[in-house]
């Protein structure tokens, strides 16, 4: 909402510097997105006439222009714009002028040619650019003013300030000048009053009432219609056109401009129909019929339905979508003499529903959807008539009586109970009843004391205030948020701040992996069609109904595609030696009978070793990442079990188990998947389910004694078929070693022709030690034999 200060001042003096007004607006919740000063600092700029244009002898992009600055000229200017010709009137900033932004014009030489000033564009003068204008100088209307006339005079510019306000949805009353001015005046302690606009022509009953029938009173609880005759057809006066322009609307003609002006001024959207083009010279307001069509003013054909409020002529032909946009058929034209003026009130929910369904936005919709003052229609009619009478040719305007069709569903202002004690306990202030009254009255609330509380009559323009809490907000706003003393909750029953075990574990995982050199990635939740298939995964995934892009139309069921894309992104930038991890949610379709996807939290690690690494480096790093995590998280009874895992190399993948429960997988990404993602090389992969991890058994935190006696290391080598996992052998040896076994590792694996196909030799180093003695050779020999027997 753009609000020119001069317009706001119709209602109150608003006698404060612009900075203060800006500050107050923000403190009132009317957020200031921008403050534009217009018409200021242009005192030195004059109208100049282009006499001649010559090429610059020494440059291609700039030309030499002779202008008449008022003294007949010629005055030479060097100019880089190309959108003008000889005879055009353009703005000239002569030498010595200062343009907005403290831009001082001096005489200067450009490539050897003297420039005695600068010809200006609209933006250099901080003037609104006319839509569709060519880039370059501001071309003034021919004959606007003689050369030498100050530009402010020629354009009728007065210094003004335009506040660009971001009005929140709860403040429909501030979508007009009257409402913004009311808030400002209240905050400044100034008197606010309706401006004197010279008065509307008297009502002439002889003009008659247009027949108005409202069948859909629930959708349109109020409809007023007024017949106007002798409507002028020319442009609106300059002052009005300028205000509309500053407020962001394009002046069109007197009737349209007055209509827009009244909406911006009072917040009442209104519509003028050409009475001659209305069948039956009247209005019928009814529900739409299925399949009914209407071409709206924007030229689009709209299909209507029974939930839509349709304005029809008296013969039932649609002429507008109620409260949103008029139709093309009864649009006023240059020959329009008689007008039917509509000032109505539509149900906000009905407007929202129709507007959403049609995807149709308009200034009227915005206002009706949020709530227009249901009591402002009479005033809007008066204002419309009195303004139209001031338009050239509008002196003979005549007006008929206003027909006012009301439905009982038209909201009335409620009277609310307001307890000062409640105000104070919600806000943490100590305001007296008198103070509260002083804050609310200037906004139009009427307070009547009743015992310890007030009965508050809400003004018709603030109907979104319908509960005590809404009044409390108004008190807070007018008192000033900044004046409320800051406290800290006493909180007798306050809990202690603490992270949950799950949250702590997530952090531990991040620490371990970053400590190991893996970087944390964050990939999007969305996948595109084909992403899962290319990763060798089940393509079933939850679909997004309205994705921004098809490549974001599915919810990920795995972190694999996202991390592969991240690896690819790096590889494409000549970055290799990559190790990334991510912790994030994945989604699977809901089980039968449920509608919400099943969410799981996964950890994934993807490692792409640098070129030149061994063929097993990738998968080794995945296994070792797992080992590091398992050790750091104190996981107990874990095992690795070869398995076929979708997306992974079938002979280099395994499931991770804890007490038989699957926690995740490790392995090497399938070579086909690697190439499908435009990658090359081998990629190590680890995935863990944090949900399963949460309930996995942990090693005891009870301290164990360490032995003070010397250890004995025993090396054992076993030949085992490939089908027997090393872990099985190791476990057998470990349990045979019993309490004496302190440590055990596989220190060598040998494959060779000597052993034959499908077999390998596994060399174990076992460290044996007793808690209470040095082990004798005999004991060592016995344990050694037990271990050998167990492994056989």
């Amino acid at each position: 909402m753009r609000a020119p200060l001069s317009w706001l001042r119709d209602y109150a003096p608003l006698d404060a510097p612009v900075e203060r007004l800006t500050h107050i607006l923000s403190e009132l919740g009317l957020v200031v997105d921008g403050v534009e000063e217009v018409g200021g600092d242009l005192g030195d700029v004059v109208v100049a006439k282009v006499l001649d244009i010559r090429p610059h002898p020494d440059a291609d992009r700039i030309r030499l222009v002779d202008v008449d600055p008022g003294d007949g000229g010629p005055l030479q200017i060097v100019c880089g714009a190309w959108n003008f010709g000889v005879g055009d009137l353009v703005p000239l900033a002569p030498v010595g002028a200062v343009l907005p932004g403290e831009f001082k014009i001096s005489r200067r030489k450009m490539r050897g040619e003297v420039s005695n000033g600068m010809l200006c564009s609209a933006s250099e003068l901080r003037l609104p650019e006319s839509p569709g204008a060519e880039e370059g100088l501001l071309i003034l209307d021919a004959g606007l003013a003689p050369p030498g006339t100050p530009i402010t005079e020629a354009l009728g510019l007065q210094r003004d300030v335009v506040f660009d306000l971001d009005i929140t949805p709860n403040r429909p009353d501030a979508l007009c000048m009257a409402g913004i001015a009311r808030d400002l005046a209240a905050a400044l302690g100034e008197e606010w009053s309706w401006p004197d606009d010279g008065g509307a022509p008297r009502v002439e009953p002889s003009l008659g009432e247009a027949p108005i029938t409202v069948e859909a009173g629930d959708l349109c609880p109020r409809f007023t219609g007024t017949v106007l005759e002798g409507v002028p057809d020319g442009p609106s006066p300059d002052w009005m056109a300028r205000r509309l322009t500053l407020a962001g609307m394009r002046p069109i003609n007197a009737v349209v401009d007055v209509s827009n002006y009244v909406m911006l001024d009072l917040g009442q959207p209104n519509h003028a129909y050409d009475l001659e083009r209305l069948g039956g010279a009247g209005i019928l307001v009814r529900r739409g019929r299925s399949g009914e069509r209407l071409v709206t003013l924007d030229g689009e054909e709209r299909e209507l339905g029974p939930h839509d409020c349709v304005i029809c002529d008296a013969e039932g032909n649609p002429v507008g979508v109620g409260g949103i946009m008029g139709g093309a058929s009864a649009e006023i034209a240059s020959d329009t003499k008689r007008v039917l003026l509509e000032c109505a009130w539509f149900s906000p929910t009905a407007i929202a529903r129709t507007g959403n369904r049609l995807g149709l936005h308009s200034e009227a919709r915005t206002r009706f959807e949020r709530g227009v003052d249901p009591g402002v229609a009479e005033r809007a009619v008066e204002r419309f008539c009195s303004l139209l009478r001031t338009v050239p040719g509008g002196e003979s305007l005549r007006r008929g009586p206003t027909v006012d069709a009301r439905d009982p569903s038209l909201p009335e202002s409620p009277t609310l109970r307001l307890r000062p004690e409640r105000v104070n306990s919600i806000l943490g202030v100590t305001l007296s009843g008198e103070q509260i009254t002083g804050l609310l009255r200037p906004l139009g609330f009427e307070l009547t004391a009743d015992g310890d509380a007030f009965d508050v009559k809400v003004p018709t323009w603030r109907l979104e205030v319908h509960r005590e809490i809404d009044l409390i907000e108004e008190v807070a706003r007018m008192w000033g948020y900044q004046r409320i003393e800051r406290t800290v909750p006493a909180g007798a029953g306050r809990s202690t701040g603490v992270l949950t075990a799950r949250q702590r574990e997530r952090r531990r995982i991040r620490q371990v992996l970053t400590g190991a050199g893996v970087n944390e990635a964050w990939t999007t939740t969305f996948l595109g069609p084909g992403d899962l298939e290319r990763a060798g995964l089940d393509p079933a995934a939850v679909e997004v109904q309205n994705p921004l892009d098809r490549s974001e139309s599915l919810l990920r069921t795995s972190l694999l595609p996202g991390l592969l894309k991240a690896l690819r992104f790096n590889l494409d930038r000549q970055l290799d030696d990559l190790a990334l991890f991510e912790i994030g949610r994945v989604f699977s379709p809901p089980p039968e009978g449920q509608i919400v996807p099943v969410e799981a939290e996964h950890l994934a690690v993807a490692v792409l070793p640098p070129a030149g690494a061994t063929g097993v480096a990738a998968v080794e790093s995945a296994v070792r990442s797992w080992q590091w995590l398992a050790a750091a998280l104190r996981l107990d009874r874990t095992s690795i079990e070869a398995a076929t895992v979708p997306g992974l190399h079938p002979a280099r993948s395994a499931r991770l188990l804890s007490d038989g429960v699957a926690l995740g997988e490790i392995g090497e990404v399938d070579a086909d998947v690697v190439s499908a993602y435009g990658l090359s090389g081998r990629i190590g992969w680890l995935r863990l389910s944090l949900d399963e991890l949460a309930s996995a058994p942990r090693r005891s935190q009870q301290a164990r004694d360490v032995s003070r006696y010397p250890a004995s290391d025993v090396d054992l080598a076993f030949v085992a078929p490939d089908a027997v996992p090393a872990a099985a052998l190791v476990e057998a040896v470990r349990s045979a070693g019993g309490d004496l076994l302190e440590d055990l590792s596989l220190f060598d694996v040998y494959r060779g022709p000597r052993l034959g196909q499908g077999r390998r030799s596994l060399a174990l180093r076992v460290r044996l030690r007793a808690m209470d003695r040095t082990l004798s050779d005999a004991e060592l020999g016995a344990v050694r034999q037990q271990m050998i027997d167990a492994a056989a």
Binding site: T168, T525, L548, R624
Partner: protein, 356 residues
């Protein structure tokens, strides 16, 4: 003509036999060339067409083509089988017993890496820092689902269907349930509803998490982003308490001399509502480009929990009061790190990741 027909037929038979007999893929490919290539007997049949009268020529041509098509299909089928077999063999040859690696002495996961220590993502480390600050202030950390029903994301938050305020969030819906029933949460507020529904009062909690909006990504917005919200519900909680907690957080998180201020705003689920700004962390309030010279940056929104929200979750608003606040983690990280374009957060370029 009949000659050609029977000859073609026998060439197909022979071709099938020879293709099937190939002992390995290389031999198969050689055979394929011999029976289907330019110099094959089948190709040779074509040269004999020109000797036939025109009407027979067309028929014979069709016969030869059909034979070729048949044999090609067979070759393709066998070739695919060979490729599967070869892949299986190649994979089998690469078989690794992963437990051999696991039983070996533990070594670091990336023994070769020249990249040094790993780095947490800027967004998660910012989130950790925020969580730590609030935990130190006596808050717990709550989490909830990212895919939600309309009830948790809108309706329980005082936004019934058709409520115009819903337009404040561009929502991504999922093709589940009734249209519009299941969505990706547009804010972490559904977690507030879940916490209050659970009914354990008082509540002093923050809720970080991933949120979604149907926004075209630009330098300051991502359609997938992270938010943290706070919720306090207790007896006697005031607007002054809210302002005090936000101020305490601002100083604890951003450092001494950093302050907050509140300005009226609107959210459907709070009343009174406010926007909160904090001293610009880049210039410490002096005024700079980040804060457009104002010395303040807008961080988020807050407000007293609307009585309708309390009623929706079964808490008596005459007994309990509370406040909520929330802001974007990514946006905060962006401001603090002077990150010109937020989209860099999603690229996962290691040169970027390792800066934080």
């Amino acid at each position: 003509m009949t000659d050609i027909r029977s000859e073609a037929q026998s060439l197909v038979e022979e071709g099938r036999r020879r293709l099937a007999a190939a002992p390995d893929l290389d031999a198969f490919l050689d055979t394929e060339r011999e029976v289907l290539g330019k110099r094959s007997a089948l190709a040779g049949l074509n040269t004999r067409l020109r000797d036939l009268p025109p009407d027979e020529r067309r028929e014979a041509g069709a016969v030869i083509n059909a034979a070729r098509t048949e044999l090609e299909a067979e070759a393709a089928r066998l070739r695919a089988e060979w490729e599967v077999r070869r892949r299986r063999e190649r994979l089998a040859a690469e078989r690794l017993d992963l437990t051999e690696i696991a039983c070996a002495p533990a070594r670091p996961p990336l023994p070769w890496s020249g990249r040094g220590v790993g780095h947490q993502h800027l967004v998660t480390s910012t989130r950790d820092e925020l969580e730590d600050t609030f935990v130190a202030m006596g808050f717990t950390v709550a989490e909830g689902p990212e895919a939600e029903t309309d009830w948790y994301n809108f309706e329980a938050l005082n936004m019934p269907p058709d409520h115009p305020a819903r337009g404040m969030w561009d929502t991504l819906y999922l093709r589940l349930g009734e249209p519009g029933q299941v969505l990706l949460r547009t804010h972490t507020s559904p977690v507030q509803v879940r916490l209050m529904e659970a009914g354990e009062l008082p509540i002093y909690a923050v809720m970080p998490g991933r949120c979604y909006r149907r926004d075209t990504p630009d330098a300051r917005h991502l359609p997938v982003f992270h938010q943290i919200e706070g919720l306090v519900v207790d007896e006697g909680i005031t607007f002054g308490d809210m302002a005090g907690i936000i101020e305490a957080f601002t100083t604890a998180f951003f450092g001494e001399g950093m302050h907050s201020r509140l300005r009226p705003s609107f959210f459907p689920f709070t009343e009174p509502s406010a926007e909160f700004e904090v001293t610009c962390p880049i210039c410490a309030g002096e005024g700079c480009r980040t804060c457009s010279g104002s010395g303040w940056i807008e961080l988020g929104g807050c407000g007293m929990v609307d009585p309708n929200v309390f009623t929706a979750v079964g808490i008596d608003p005459e007994v309990y009061s509370g406040f909520a606040f929330g802001f974007g983690i990514d946006r905060l990280a962006q401001v603090r790190a002077s990150l010109p374009d937020m989209r860099a957060l999603l690229d996962n370029d290691v040169r970027f990741l390792t800066q934080f």
